[in-house]
Amino acid sequence: MSLLTDIEKVRAEFDDRLQSAPAGDDSFEELRIAFLGRKGKLAGLFSQLGSVKQTERPLTGKQLNELKSYVTERLSEFQSASAEAPEVVADIDVTLPGDPVPHGSIHPVTQIENEVKAIFGRLGFSVFYGPEVETDRYNFEALNFKPDHPARDMQDTFYLGQEQLLRTHTSNNQIHAMEQMDPPLRILMPGRVFRNEAINARSHCQFHQIEGLVVDRNTSMAELKGTLTYFARELYGPDTVTRFRPSYFPFTEPSAEMDVYWGLDTERDYRITKGTGWLEILGCGMVHPNVLEAGGVDPDEFTGYAFGMGIDRMAMLKWDIGDIRYFYEGDLRFLTQF
């Protein structure tokens, strides 16, 4: 049997097997190893080339090389054909969740603070900051709290010495602002305040306030009412009904509280409004002439109005949060909801 015949037999066998091979990489690999592998059929044929007569060797060699090219090409075609064939239906489940892109949360107190700043920002209020650690002068005396006056009992104070204390309200900023800037002033003063009160669900030794101060030549109670009514409607909706009633703060005169009508639709409404339907939102008033003077402003030339509100309490109302301590624990089960 001549090697040339064997070459033809191998070619035929290759054609047969290629014909019947199922598409796919496995078939390709199997055929490649069987024919082109190191121990494959073509290698077997090449190894016999040495024993072919000298004269027949060029032809046989040529045939053998042709076969190798033939097999290589056919296999290559087979492989690319296999690749094109849809092997399995791709499983794209579009209902799988998207890749988890992290998202955190803005603290509820910051959110309310931002909201309040934005509303007053539309009315041309700028933002001003003052220190948390204060002296009696800025926190009390310059705000017309007289020594040994019961008004001082309105705010239990943490002391850091004889004169130093933790501010009990953001009103200390009123004096800093008047000292640092010339009127007209139109500022909003957010910050953390401290009261020496036991910590429980309803009260904490720290919370946040936003104070507002306007000092100008012709501000009036009418402007205070207009400004704060606008604020209430922006915050609680355009149909919000407000009322003003007399109150007392040593640093304003006349002093007022602003209430909004909350309604009496639910048990909670009864509870938080003490059955009146009205909810106290902020304290306000016309800046006391003694305070203007303490801030270096002439009370004959300028008048002013001021207001202050508690951010934590507003957040508790907005989201019906029953415990003020949640704000300062960092509990992710709480924070992630905002």
Partner: protein
């Protein structure tokens, strides 16, 4: 303070319901709430006992026939000792629900059908009394719903939450004065019938004031031959209604007048006052005195004492003494009605931590003229209740005379401040209604004479508030437009914090707020600064001001871990305080940005995709990105020793250290009860804010020529830092070098021990042409040569 709806009506007539009254008082600035009163029983009606027959088999049970107005009477078996024919009683019928929820059923007792129950007070929740059934006024109609009947009969309590400036309103009279002003009516004062005896009071007692700074006036009366006993029901009921406990007729009378007129009164047992003498003086430092609660009080020269001929008998304006108290045996009394300086009483009460109904009123200031009426009123009342004879005249030492203040009010200023257009007449009428005498002057001025019962009214603005109160705050105009002076607009120095918050939130961080107050030991964990200490802390855990945000963040990580919350990513923006004795407030405040990132097993959210485990480089990357988006100048991270941190680095911009970060060692984690790895960081926002002020973005024209990339892999000793290698690359990069980036880091198999493999991708670009391969190759060779010589690096491969 509580006031009674009925009692108030004695002073001023009005048609308000309790709720309307509370609303009206609130609108006047006297915050009032109706104390809700609810009964939990139902199905109880009034009935008349028509017949009572004892049950034969029982020693106490009786069969009663109770008529409720229906055709048939209701048979009721009753065991109460006081049940009798003809009584009007509350009858719970079958189906009624009693106090506590018990539902009444038809029953059979000793063979007798009982279809109801005659109720005792405890069964309806009116009191704890079960001594007998409730017997009503014989005039009471039968068949009334008992709950409605009770409500119509009983008084309503109105709770007053008075502001500290309204000492004058601390009584029924005071509240009535405001109410009368708003109604345009006059207050009716109680009639006082003294019918004094013959003995002049001067023969019985003598009053002097040695401490006129503390006591401006001291008036007294003496009543002889009183008979101490229980108060009559009407008086006891009034006191009980507003929450006071009746004691005896003399004590109750002074409490009654206190609540009625607002002036504190004190009654002494006259026979226990040595020599019938009263003097008022300041205590000596260290002097002690036993108050009537039995406590021995240590006094100082701030405390004012009432003394008899032998020594102190009362702590003036605060509390009486044990030895001179009125007792069952008291026959003769001396009644004190005095004016004590508000600040003296306040200081005295505060230093003793002792507050009484009297001290609360004295420190809010009292009516130095009205005290005489109060004295006469109480004397007459005691005589009415306890008998005796009122000695003729009163003792009245008045060394510091108060004169009514005169305040000149400008009508123009009033209208300017309120934004109103009120006439001078209207203003004057409002003031007059409050008892302020007015006289119109030329030039739109009103001269106002302020009665002594309103000592807090001192300035024109105080009178403006009075005008506004009576006008009604809600009737004042509300303007519709505002003017914003451009000169008032200033920059918000914290506005850029908003950008930080939104970015960090976008990267998965949650905003935390920890408490400013913290433990002393936490203050020195992460900061070298001296902490500020509170002198009156709530507890040792809240005794210092934080010097770092990190402890608060770690507490939050721990809080979450203990509640199965892993992978905590938190940040906080807040102030820390460092003690500084040079500062006016002894503290330097810095706004900081703190971070805590915890990790641990199970940190992957999804397992079918590759995600890097979170370690401190996650936090470092967040901070680098944050600083990058702020467009701050180049930030370098330098390994450093930072208090409390492991593997710490400092972030520097130019020569300024702006913050640091690092890990927490296991010992410290244990102290915070944290199990997983945590990295923390803190940036100084004040410093960053300063750097941002000079911030400019250096824009480079976008070059249209391609960037050439070359990768180099180096084998370097383990100690070589990425930072140092990058610096060498940058220094030797030549003019076309743009940037480099570490893209692989490996040690282990295939790398010599004590060595690591680190791979950089280098970027080259020229602004004006395409770089030639040769140029880049040459530059890379220079770089690697420098790396080899400087860092003992071996160039493993390149491409």
């Amino acid at each position: 303070m509580n006031i009674s709806y009925h009692w108030l009506k004695e002073f001023v007539e009005h048609d308000y319901s309790p709720e309307e009254l509370a609303a009206e008082l609130t609108a006047l600035g006297l915050e009032a709430t109706v104390q809700s009163k609810d009964y939990d029983f139902t199905g109880v009606v009034t009935g008349r006992v028509d017949d009572v027959t004892p049950l034969p088999d029982s020693d106490h049970l009786k069969l009663c026939q109770v008529s409720t107005g229906a055709a048939e009477t209701v048979p009721v078996v009753c065991g109460a000792p006081n049940v009798a024919k003809g009584q009007i009683v509350p009858l719970a019928t079958v189906g009624a629900v009693l106090h506590g929820g018990l539902k009444l059923k038809k029953s059979k007792i000793r063979g007798q059908v009982s279809q109801g129950m005659i109720c005792a007070e405890d069964e309806l929740g009116l009191s704890d009394d079960h001594t007998g059934i409730i017997v009503l006024d014989p005039e009471t109609p039968i068949g009334l719903d008992f709950k409605e009947y009770l409500k119509s009969q009983s008084d309503t309590v109105i709770e007053m939450d008075l502001t500290p400036n309204r000492g004058d309103a601390f009584s029924h009279l005071g509240v009535a004065r405001d109410l009368a002003a708003s109604l345009g009516k006059k207050v009716r004062l109680p009639r006082v019938d003294l019918a004094e005896g013959k003995t002049p009071v001067e023969e019985l007692a003598k009053v002097s004031i040695s401490g006129p700074d503390g006591c401006h006036r001291y008036a007294a009366r003496v009543i002889q031959g009183v008979k101490i006993g229980p108060s009559p029901k009407w008086l006891a009921d009034r006191l009980t209604t507003i929450g006071l406990r009746p004691i005896n007729n003399v004590v109750d009378a002074s409490n009654y007048v206190l609540m009625e007129l607002g002036h504190p009164l004190h009654t002494f047992d006259y026979d226990k006052l040595a020599k019938g003498r009263i003097d008022v003086y300041f205590a000596r430092n260290g002097q002690t005195f036993t108050t009537l609660d039995g406590e021995e009080r240590k006094l100082s020269d701030q405390h004012l004492l009432i003394a008899d001929g032998d020594g102190p008998v009362a702590l003036a304006g605060i509390m009486g003494g044990l030895d001179s108290e009125v007792t069952e045996q008291t026959r003769n009394i001396l009644i004190e009605s005095a004016y004590f300086a508000p600040s003296v009483i306040r200081r005295g009460a505060k230093t003793l931590d002792l507050s009484s109904e009297a001290s609360k009123r004295f420190e809010r200031d009292t009516d130095i003229e009205g005290l005489i009426f109060a004295l006469d009123r109480v004397a007459a009342l005691i005589k009415e209740l306890a008998g005796g004879e009122i000695a003729r005249g009163r003792l009245d030492a008045y060394p510091v005379r108060h004169e009514p203040k005169e305040i000149t009010l400008s009508t123009a200023f009033t209208n300017r401040l309120l934004g109103t257009d009120l006439t001078a007449e209207r203003m004057a009428a409002h003031l007059e209604s409050l008892g302020i005498e007015t006289a119109a002057e030329s030039g739109g001025q009103i001269t106002c004479r302020v009665p002594l019962f309103r000592p807090e009214l001192e300035l024109p603005v105080d009178l403006i508030e009075e005008i506004a109160r009576i006008e009604g705050y809600n009737n004042l105009p509300t303007i519709e437009s505002i003017q914003v002076p451009l000169g008032s607009i200033i920059a918000d120095s914290h506005e850029w914090f908003t950008g930080i918050v939104s970015r960090l939130v976008g990267w998965g961080y949650h905003q935390h707020m920890s408490t400013t107050l913290t433990r002393g030991e936490y203050c020195s964990l992460f900061s070298d600064a001296q902490a500020v200490e509170l002198t009156n802390p709530l507890s040792s855990e809240l005794a210092y001001l934080r010097t770092s945000l990190i402890p608060g963040l770690l507490q939050a990580v721990s809080f979450n871990e203990r509640r199965q919350q892993q992978n905590v990513l938190l940040f906080e923006i807040g102030a820390v305080q460092y003690y500084n004795k040079e500062a006016y407030n002894r503290a330097d405040e810095h706004f900081m940005l703190g971070f805590a990132a915890s990790s641990g097993s199970g940190s992957r959210d999804v397992h079918w995709k590759d995600q890097a485990d979170r370690d401190q480089f996650y936090l470092k990357g967040s901070i680098e990105s944050l600083l990058a988006v702020l467009r701050l100048p180049r930030v370098t991270a330098i390994p450093a020793q930072v208090r409390g941190l492991t593997n710490a680095i400092q972030f520097c911009i130019a020569d300024t250290v702006v913050g640091h970060m690092g890990g927490i060692d296991s010992e410290m984690r244990d102290s915070f009860s944290i199990d997983t790895e945590v990295s923390v960081a803190e940036l100084d926002l004040d410093q960053l804010g300063e750097l941002l002020k000079g911030r400019t973005v250096a824009y480079n024209e976008v070059a249209p020529f391609p960037v050439v990339e070359r990768d180099i892999a180096l084998e370097v000793p383990v100690g070589a830092t990425a930072d140092a290698l990058e610096k060498t690359i940058r220094d030797k990069g030549g003019k076309y070098f743009r940037n480099s980036r570490i893209f692989d880091l490996y040690s282990g198999e295939g790398v010599a021990s004590a060595k690591k493999s680190i791979a950089f991708r280098l970027y080259f670009q020229a602004a004006d042409r395409t770089l030639k391969d040769g140029e880049v190759e040459q530059q890379v060779k220079r770089i690697t040569a420098a790396l080899e010589s400087k860092h003992k690096a071996i160039w493993r491969s390149g491409s």
